[in-house]
Symmetry: C2
Subunit: 187 residues, 2 copies
Amino acid sequence: MPRSGEDARRRLQQAALELYQERGFDQTTTAQIAARAGVNERTFFRHFPDKREVLFAGEADLRAALVQEVADAPDGLQPLDVLLCAFRKAGRILEDNRPFSEPRLEIIARTPALRERDLAKGASLTEALAQALRERDVPARLADLAAQTGWATFHHAAQAWIDDPSRKLDAHLLQAFDDLRALSATA
Amino acid sequence: MPRSGEDARRRLQQAALELYQERGFDQTTTAQIAARAGVNERTFFRHFPDKREVLFAGEADLRAALVQEVADAPDGLQPLDVLLCAFRKAGRILEDNRPFSEPRLEIIARTPALRERDLAKGASLTEALAQALRERDVPARLADLAAQTGWATFHHAAQAWIDDPSRKLDAHLLQAFDDLRALSATA
């Protein structure tokens, strides 16, 4: 995509985020998003299929990054450590992008239509992680369980980061995986 | 609701399940479900708001049962053990109801619109479980993490039960929580 296309795309994402914060997701139209971004509505639909997807445009990148990190993790790591390793690297992208990712997560949390989409994306991402673990020769049953519980732990850490911005996402991630270990050890 | 109302409700659920299996969820109309159940379409909408909800009618009962089991679990149990205890009791209902619950889970797994609804119900149920754990004086952070990872483990076990019906759901649940412990111990 040419540079001007990338610029329009970013302006559309920023405009959508601002409008969802100001007046709520349900009250915002694609025409309003396009107007604030200074483009016409056709340009909006050239970049995004609907007003939900504006907030999930980074999903494919996140998924590709996570799958790659799982493949690249050092040999000999246990499945949950492989995932923690991948989540920490992906977490840096979220952290560096905090001015966008924090309000984004807040809007998703309070908008049912966006939460449904987010959950569906999470389920699909969990399957991709399980597949990536199987390709490291983790048995299918453990790969699936590790992906499901690992993703649940990542999700919990991301929410904790939104609720308590005084610590970095990375600190919340380490804490969450430590907590999971403690919870499981005593069970 | 009078007995005849309960009968109609059960017949509608059975008819919907059969039709979703035979021709798929998207190709089935509420009129067809009503016809097979031997009632008119108005009766369908007296019992269910839409054709997705027919498959989630037991959700409120499951939620109430799980929350009650968490409250009733013996003192001194650790959070994940409290949840395992609750899941095992709820699992008996699914097991006893296998002729309905097995095809139901299969249809959900292969129908995107139903998976979205199922994920949303799961997220809401996870919040109810976290709340029930907090009422047992589990600190909020651990209650949330235990509920999220515990629910992910239950979900994994239910899928394993669908894939491998030679063992009871209870055996899959015990296996899944054992596996989680093993995964976390080595992490």
